[in-house]
């Protein structure tokens, strides 16, 4: 770390160095919520008529996707904030968002093919824009985290990853447009068995909304935990320096 930026960041840095425990009530509440969702989805939500029990993966797949998008959006937003304010807290939040986002994206990419195999009869459908977009998002986030691990200097690491976070956010609409054009020219969009039903019966909708709340809480809990780990790591690095 060069001398000048360290001095400029002293005030917020010292304030952020005091942190709560990594495991706390938020994580416990979120974990219990997700467990409750499993119980409700399996035992207290009706089985979908055409898809059968396979549709239950919906309560895991779609909320995980929404949680992933929240986490990744946080990374993009905090990247902009970092380049603007040079606050190391923004960098740590961006890092936490990317790591948590990668976990949820992995859940989406694991459950998607499992569901697709039952419903589409194929593990992977390149014409499904959401799945394809999620895959490329996974690659961008993975590259982001590899860059973070490959730069020694803390200030340079923060700048590099902020640049990558912003460029990644710019890239996503282009991949979306490209895949849209690709599938529009080759395949019609699925109408009968599209993955997300626009109108759900009320019990399914309630389960889905509860699942979304539980996953959003879990996402927030993970990000906070990861942020606190980051604070402890930086503190340890400073003590060693």
């Amino acid at each position: 770390m060069t001398a000048a930026p360290t001095v400029a960041r002293t005030a917020p840095a010292t304030r952020s160095r005091t942190t709560g425990p990594v495991f706390d009530w938020l994580f416990v509440v979120a974990a219990l919520g997700v467990m409750g969702i499993y119980v409700r989805a399996i035992y207290f939500t009706p089985i979908e008529a055409t898809q059968g029990a396979a549709q239950k993966i919906y309560y895991l797949h779609v909320p995980a996707a929404l949680a992933a998008y929240i986490a990744v959006s946080l990374t993009a937003l905090m990247s902009i904030v970092y380049l603007w304010l040079h606050d190391e807290r923004a960098d740590r939040l961006a890092e936490a968002g990317a790591e948590v986002g990668l976990v949820f994206l992995t859940v989406v990419l694991t459950t998607g093919p499992l569901w697709g195999h039952q419903i589409w009869g194929a593990w992977w459908a390149w014409w499904d824009m959401r799945l394809t977009l999620t895959l490329f998002l996974w690659f961008v986030v993975a590259a982001y985290l590899v860059v973070r691990g490959a730069v020694e200097d803390a200030a340079m690491r923060a700048r590099f990853s902020a640049v990558l976070g912003i460029l990644g956010a710019l890239l996503i609409p282009f991949i979306h447009l490209s895949v849209y054009l690709f599938q529009a020219r080759l395949h019609p969009m699925p109408i009968v068995l599209k993955p997300s039903e626009p109108s759900l019966p009320s019990e399914m909708l309630t389960t889905f909304l509860l699942a979304f709340v539980a996953f959003a809480l879990l996402c927030a809990a993970f990000i906070r935990m990861r942020y606190r780990v980051g604070v402890l790591r930086d503190r340890a690095a400073e003590m060693l320096a």
């Binding site: 961008v140 993975a142 590259a143 490959a150 730069v151 640049v163 912003i166 282009f174 490209s178 690709f182």
Partner: protein, 237 residues
């Protein structure tokens, strides 16, 4: 240094003039050593040959897979050229001389990008005829259209590739990191370019290729601007 056109004047050159000087410097180095050019070129032609044998000739006609092969080869041979863009500055800390030069950091980026663009175009000027030769493509107007698509796509590839090359040299695993960083960003360019090329080589009307080209042009504009603005952050302060 006067053979690359540097004259001592009272005023420092403007952004475009400085960028051109940097591009000429890089191309002069390349012209004298020719190592990166030859390795990119040999790689490209070799990849064309190897990919020929990757499919059964009787199942998919060579002309049908030519567009896909072309864009895979363009992407990977391009990476070889981009890799070298900033690694040549690392030896003897040439980058320090560029940083203390009386020019904006945007000019350094633009100069590097122009140098890379000309380098990649030179490699492609051999790759395309080699593709025509090995895949028995008809020689005609459509090849001019393919060359135009290649130029548009290469602008986008160079815009992000130059920035990531600058970032990658400052990391612990530069050679590994550049493809990992660049390839996701090449996806929109390669996907659209391959689709447009398929239509052009298939003799379809130009209007069918246009929707794909539109995305590449938008990508070029957005990423040339964004990467020029982002470049100063990738240099040491």
């Amino acid at each position: 240094m006067d053979d690359v056109g540097v004259r001592v004047t009272a005023r420092p050159p403007g952004t475009i003039a400085a960028a051109w000087l940097i591009a000429r410097k890089d191309l002069a180095i390349e012209f004298r050593t020719r190592t990166a050019f030859l390795s990119s070129l040999v790689f490209a032609v070799l990849a064309l040959c190897i990919l020929y044998f990757a499919w059964d000739e009787s199942v998919i006609a060579p002309a049908d897979r030519a567009p896909g092969v072309l864009w895979v080869v363009v992407a990977f041979s391009g990476l070889l050229g981009l890799q070298r863009s900033f690694s040549i500055e690392e030896h003897d800390r040439g980058i320090d001389a560029l940083l203390v030069a009386p020019t904006s950091r945007e000019a350094i980026y633009l100069g590097k990008a122009i140098g890379n663009l000309l380098f990649l175009c030179a490699v492609q000027a051999v790759t395309l005829p080699a593709l025509v030769l090995f895949y028995n493509l008809p020689v005609g107007q459509s090849l001019l259209a393919v060359a135009a698509i290649m130029l548009l796509a290469t602008i986008g590839i160079v815009a992000v590739g130059t920035l990531f090359s600058a970032m990658a040299v400052n990391t612990r695993m530069a050679e590994l990191l550049l493809p990992m960083l660049s390839l996701p960003f090449f996806v929109p360019v390669l996907l659209n370019a391959a689709q447009a090329t398929t239509r052009v080589l298939g003799g379809r009307p130009a209007s069918e290729a246009w929707p794909w080209l539109r995305i590449i042009i938008a990508f070029d504009i957005v990423f040339v601007v964004a990467c020029t603005m982002a470049f100063p952050y990738t240099l040491e302060e």
